[in-house]
């Protein structure tokens, strides 16, 4: 067993030819000395500057002044290390992968009998090897800061373990970008967008109750573990967000939760990379794996959202300040769940739905193999069952959240059962026509259609509202937009949410809201029926075409 693990680790790490090759290329002494100086001198400058500034404290001449000054250097050094590993390192990985793909070098590596995992590890650790070495150059500053500042080493080590995991996730993101994009520049942009998404947009959702997304960065662990040690003057309410992670009825340590979330992301990225290593034309995810990803996301979402609805758990939430009554908070949480579920559904449908030529390829192949239909695990299989799976899972979670809302809301919900069913019905309609549109159109057509349908009428409504100084145009044109439409269908059951509408609308809110809610359902339901019919017809004609080709051949 020991021998086997040594061999596996050897193949993945110290004997890994790709890792060795990248180290040879990127650690040539001359370039390394230059980069070392570029890194070391600014870090020394920052460290000494911060130390000197912090030394001028009321505790002058006491030993405590030096301790506090050394503590003060900890965060600036962490930021510098973040820039090295996460900014420069991510760029190296995305650029390196895309360059190798474009030049054809990646194909050489595909042709070697090394295991795909060894190839992935080779690139993952090899492409940013210079940045890892530069990071090592800055670690003495961190050590001085931690030991001299009397920071508990256990916590520092745990923090740096999470820091490395976050960096690995960013590098994996960049690798995926490099593998998927056809040009290095595109890959670089794709990686930057992904990093912004992972760093800024998704963590912002943690303020809305989806704690899970905050743990994609190092921030929760940093504040949760270190704030008391660093003696920083930070808002207590803000810190409450990071101290423990409320998940279902548990209160988890932030570091543990970060490991789980980062591990989940790593599994997804590794899966994509393995698929792409095996065959470049493979879909990024299999349909079954997409269902697994959706299920885990739903689990993480409900686990993060439920504690905010519970009266027994004292959680900090930005939304609680927005909605002092339970009614609005409950509605907002349900809304958030459906919007994120829809975004995930669209992304996964985009990844697993076969395009025209893949479908045609599948049809021709099953005819050749005398099979009745395309097996569900093939990339060429249609994505309707997977879409149904997404809808089913989102419905279960929505019902569970709704049950919790009904149980926990003070005055109960003043809504009919059919009104409560409207939001998830609308979600299902949107998922259906998204699936159908993706089946018919390739990437540009698909996203072009969604943009035209969801953004253009919204813009028209905004323009008319600006000219007429009335909110009705926005309200009615908003019917086509999924976020607005979902908001209407939820608002009808949770009156506090209607405070979001303008003054003029609010005067006759009951009547107007009912109208736009039903309009939303009719519009998106109609689209679902229309597009499903179009997709069915389109698929049938494709099958006929494939059959004609076979007949001509015979």
């Amino acid at each position: 067993m020991k021998k086997l693990s040594k061999k596996v680790l050897g193949d993945l790490l110290w004997k890994n030819p790709i890792l060795r090759m990248q180290m040879r290329q990127r650690l040539r002494p001359r370039a390394l000395i230059i980069w070392g100086l570029i890194t070391f001198i600014p870090c020394l400058f920052i460290f000494l500057n911060v130390y000197n500034s912090a030394s001028f404290s009321p505790y002058e001449d006491s030993g405590e002044a030096r301790i506090l000054a050394l503590k003060a250097t900890f965060i600036p050094m962490l930021i510098a290390q973040g820039i090295i590993l996460m900014f420069l390192g991510t760029g190296s990985v995305a650029g390196g992968m895309a360059e190798e793909k474009e030049s054809g070098l990646l194909d050489y590596q595909r042709l070697t009998p090394m295991s795909p995992m060894a190839k992935i590890v080779g690139y993952l650790l090899g492409l940013p090897c210079r940045e890892y070495l530069l990071l090592a150059l800055t670690l003495p500053f961190t050590l001085i800061s931690a030991i001299g500042g009397q920071l508990p080493l256990g916590k520092v080590i745990l923090l740096y373990t999470i820091f490395l995991c976050v960096a690995l996730v960013y590098h994996l993101t960049a690798m995926v970008a490099g593998m998927l994009a056809r040009k290095p520049r595109k890959a670089s942009w794709f990686a930057r967008i992904m990093v912004v998404l992972l760093n800024v947009f998704l963590p912002a959702l943690s303020q809305m109750g989806l704690t899970v997304f905050g743990h994609i960065t190092i921030m929760p662990t940093l504040w949760g573990l270190m704030h008391s040690e660093l003696g920083k003057d930070i808002d207590e309410e803000f810190l409450k967000l990071w101290e423990v992670v409320p998940f279902f009825s548990w209160e988890l340590p932030p570091a543990l939760f970060s490991f789980v979330v980062l591990g989940f992301l790593m599994v997804i990225f590794l899966f994509i990379l393995l698929r792409k290593w095996q065959q470049d034309s493979n879909h990024s995810l299999t349909k079954r794996f997409a269902l697994f990803v959706f299920a885990v996301l739903q689990f993480l979402m409900i686990g993060s959202l439920l504690p905010h609805l519970s009266k027994e758990m004292d959680t900090y939430l930005f939304l609680k300040e927005m909605f002092p009554l339970n009614d609005g908070l409950a509605g907002a949480i349900l809304f958030l769940h459906l919007v994120l579920s829809l975004a995930t559904t669209i992304l996964l449908i985009h990844l697993v739905t076969p395009l025209r030529h893949t479908l045609a390829k599948g049809i021709r192949r099953i005819r050749k193999l005398n099979m009745a239909k395309v097996p569900s695990n093939w990339d060429a299989a249609g994505s309707l069952p997977t879409t149904l799976g997404f809808i089913g899972m989102a419905t279960v979670v929505h019902i569970l959240l709704l049950a919790s809302v009904i149980q926990e809301t003070d005055n109960g919900i003043q809504a009919q059962a059919y009104q409560l069913a409207m939001p998830i019905t609308l979600f299902a309609f949107m998922a259906f026509y998204t699936h159908a549109a993706r089946t018919i159109w390739p990437t540009a057509g698909f996203f072009g259609f969604l943009a035209l349908l969801w953004i253009l009428p919204e813009l028209t409504g905004l323009t008319l509202a600006a000219f007429t100084q009335k909110e009705e145009p926005l309200l009615y044109f908003g019917v086509t937009n999924p976020i607005h439409a979902l908001f209407y269908t939820i608002s009808i059951s949770f009156k506090e949410l209607t405070s979001f509408f303008g003054r003029e609308v609010r005067t006759g809110v009951g009547e107007q809201l009912s109208t736009v809610t039903f309009l939303s359902l009719a519009f998106h339901g109609g689209l679902a029926v229309l597009f499903l019919a179009m997709a069915t017809k389109w698929k049938r004609s494709l099958q006929m075409n494939a059959a004609n080709i076979e007949t001509r051949k015979k």
């Binding site: 090759m21 040879r24 070697t112 009998p113 390829k361 192949r365």
Partner: protein, 311 residues
């Protein structure tokens, strides 16, 4: 034993079909020349053989291993050289070879010996310490060949290996390929330099618009395209008997005389009968200056096929 077996291969890119129902088998030790214009489907076929491209359908095996189901087994016995020479610019020549020596899992005790051998074979010994980025296109091409030879593959797939090589290197390449074939290795090669293919290919196949038009040994292919051989006779002085003498011979057809001293004709007989014609003419005191066969070469075959003269 068939080292490469392709049955009903079809490759689609979207709506475009690059390879149409291609079937082909290549025996061990053969050097098979794959000839076709740009965009004919050669590289797509090579990529399928190299497991780099999934076929729309069709059965493809290399050394008995199915390329779709056993790619790692295929990688162990296959050496693939693409039609353009990408190299790691910041690696030295020996480091480049060392990378692939390790990547193919070859014994580390043999490393130095094998790298030295392939560098010598490809005349790159002197460039051992040079950075790959500083090599000329021809040298990069040779380095790729060295890398391909490192693993001593049973099957070699070479896509335009001679492009970018100087005449001296081309002759060296030909010798290397002949030597490899004599060791029992199977080679599938594509090239635009058709006259070179004739020098060492044991078989050829001509592919056009994704369809294999003809395939077989060079002799077989020529016979397919030109069932009857054309013979040329030149005499010193005009003699009116020549035309009649030739026409009387069994198997002779289509006797033409472009000038009073020159004759050409089609003949369906074997070599021994060709000799009899010559002996007969000489026996009749015809002053024969030259007597030879107007033999098609690969280039003629290719031109004939690509003009649509062969289906």
């Amino acid at each position: 034993m068939n080292m490469i077996e392709i049955k009903d291969l079809r490759v689609d890119y979207g709506d475009f079909t690059a390879v149409h129902d291609l079937s082909l088998s290549i025996d061990q030790g053969e050097i098979y020349g794959f000839i076709g214009p740009n965009g004919a489907g050669k590289t797509s076929t090579f990529k399928v053989l190299g497991t780099l491209l999934e076929p729309t359908f069709g059965e493809v095996t290399v050394g008995g291993y199915n390329v779709a189901e056993q790619p790692r087994e295929v990688h162990r016995i296959l050496g693939y050289m693409p039609d353009f020479p990408p190299v790691y610019e910041d690696l030295r020549v020996w480091e480049f070879c060392d990378l692939f020596h390790a990547a193919y899992g070859l014994p580390s005790v043999e490393r130095k010996g094998r790298i030295d051998k392939v560098l010598k074979q490809t005349s790159l010994t002197e460039k051992r310490m040079a950075l790959c980025g500083g090599l000329s296109r021809g040298m990069k091409q040779r380095l790729l060949l060295a890398k391909t030879l490192l693993q001593e593959p049973k099957v070699l797939i070479l896509d335009e290996p001679a492009s970018g090589l100087d005449p001296h290197s081309r002759i060296e390449l030909r010798e290397i390929l002949k030597e490899l074939a004599s060791e029992g290795r199977t080679i599938l090669i594509s090239s635009h330099i058709l006259t070179e293919m004739e020098g060492f290919c044991t078989s050829i196949g001509i592919i056009e618009q994704g369809r294999l038009k003809v395939s077989g040994t060079i002799e077989e292919v020529i016979r397919q395209i030109q069932p009857a051989r054309r013979l040329l006779v030149e005499i010193i002085a005009p003699d009116p008997r020549v035309g009649k003498l030739l026409e009387d011979f069994h198997g002779v057809k289509d006797v033409q005389s472009p000038s009073p001293t020159k004759y050409n004709f089609q003949f369906t007989g074997k070599d021994a009968e060709v000799a009899k014609i010559l002996a007969h003419l000489v026996g009749q005191s015809i002053p024969v200056k030259s007597f030879h066969e107007d033999r098609m070469d690969v280039e003629d075959v290719f031109m004939k096929v690509s003009k649509g003269e062969v289906n």
